[in-house]
Symmetry: C2
């Protein structure tokens, strides 16, 4: 949680003058978001979010992310809609950063989802996959199977400082994943980071999906696997099969999984756990001095990998066939 | 700027259930406030601020602060109104902290006030002083002339690390202040921390005063001196007499200063500059490891003290007589 970029009033006023959103009544820096700086804006016309893109987001990817949100919002999916300025642009510049203004989404991110939350999330994920089908742009997933070895290379020498044997475990796991990774699954737009902080609920209903800054083109079922990892494990590391059932049946109610996707689910879970273990490990070993954000524990995903290595089929994740 | 205390959804829901403010639709940690943790709440009934009081605020003082805000809001002053829970209390407990819910105030804190802003601020300050007259509670000012020597004692030995000669300058200044400090000025409720971040504007009008957690009973003109220090110096350390005129004439239009207050203005300016120099100096020398908040520069107020030592009368602050 952090505000990385402070904005001067004058800069903000002149930036907002480029949009047809009324007069500014109030703005507050929001203490969340690891990658970007977000401000809550209240104007005479309503509430908005102003996002300033920090260095971790590649500026060249922003047209894809903003275009995708625009596409999905137009389809009726509840995601932030980037507003067009008077000159027709969704992307501007403020305080030396790329910046955009979005509609404000109500809703609350649940920290401890129930099986019902998981079911609602599963349906929303499937709807996202359907709504993304006719989006014209594409973006390769840099954090898929070919991206993992170079990530690991950054951390390998120091991995055992974090946990004894981690380097060797990871080497073997990466070999298995390279060998077994599926290449023929239905592809499309995936969110690729749909953790609980990126899903808003009002009551039991999903009211919004946010933070599309890892979205890319990849196997749709890989997104399902990311969510199984993020939503269905308990704090003690155990897998909650009831939550898995909720998530998978919620998904299937909107978009039934194909046989190839069902077969691939265990290896996709291993792969997505590897992806988060590796990025967390690299961050863990490279905390900059004075960092405002506490790095996340890579070992949480090392333990999930251990669980996934023993899973034989999608039933063990809660798939009801 | 910081969120010091993270609140769990379940705790928050059960806390909010004690208030008649509708159903929660959204909440966001706000990245501002040095002393406390603030959340923006959006409910089916409107917008609110939830404040959790951190350790720097003395819990025994909270009834005074909340009672004062209630008193002033009832008088029509735009300040946060603490809401009563269903059981009639303005102060509750959440996440192990004292906590309260307030009405949300629109408005924008100006970082570079103009003379017009200073005039509006002066009038709002005078109105606060008038509205506070019949508030029944009182609270001594621990950060007035008798509080400064013990503060300095915490920093004296290391003061010259911050600036050569600072210890000796401060010793002499404290002696002069002890000798010359006025004791017979009109007393009442003062805000005591009315920096630009604590005053909201919409256009040229003051739309709200916030952060009453240093409010106390002291000389009203001491509050004027605090504002002259906080609002009328430029970033380069120069005193802007036009802003001083704005502030003082705005104040006088609502509450004319008495002759004793006018006479005392230079020494009150010295004293209030000393107060902020000392608290900043102590904070500067005691930054905890991993601090989220950058300490403010004590030397800014050391330089202001130098200006004040040369001022002979209130005209040099912009008083038009």
């Amino acid at each position: 949680m952090a505000v990385y970029t402070e904005v001067l009033d004058e800069e903000l006023f002149s930036f907002l003058a480029g949009y047809d959103i009324g007069d500014l009544l109030s703005y507050k820096g929001i203490a969340e978001g690891v990658e970007n700086t977000n401000y809550y804006l209240h104007t005479t016309q309503g509430s908005y979010i102003l996002t300033l893109y920090e260095k971790r987001v590649n500026e060249a990817d922003l047209p894809f992310f903003l275009g995708l949100m625009q596409h999905l919002a137009t389809k009726g999916l509840n995601c932030p809609l980037p507003l067009k300025s008077r000159s027709g642009e969704t992307l501007g510049r403020l305080a030396g950063r790329p910046a955009a203004i979005f509609t404000f989404l109500d809703g609350i991110a649940v920290r401890r989802p129930t099986a019902q939350h998981c079911a609602a999330l599963g349906s929303a994920l499937a709807q996202l996959h359907l709504d993304g089908r006719d989006f014209a742009m594409s973006r390769p997933n840099a954090l898929s199977v070919n991206g993992w070895p170079p990530l690991f290379a950054q951390a390998e020498a120091q991995a055992d400082r974090v946990s004894t044997g981690l380097a060797e475990r990871t080497r073997r796991e990466l070999e298995a994943l390279q060998r077994d990774w599926p290449t023929d699954l239905p592809n499309g737009i995936i969110h690729a980071d749909l953790f609980t902080d990126n899903v808003f609920f009002i009551g039991r209903e999903v009211s919004g999906l946010i933070d599309f800054y890892f979205a890319c083109t990849d196997a749709l079922a890989y997104d399902v696997a990311i969510c199984l990892n993020a939503w269905c494990f308990e704090a003690d590391g155990s897998f909650n099969l009831t939550k898995g059932r909720g998530l998978l049946s919620g998904y299937q109610a909107v978009r039934p999984l194909e046989a190839s996707e069902i077969d691939a689910l265990p290896v996709l879970c291993r792969g997505s756990a590897m992806r988060f273990m590796l990025t967390r490990l690299v961050d863990w070993l490279n905390v900059p001095p004075g960092a405002l954000v506490k790095p996340k524990d890579p070992l949480e995903y090392d333990r999930k990998l251990h669980f996934h290595r023993q899973a034989r089929n999608a039933r063990e994740y809660g798939l009801v066939t």
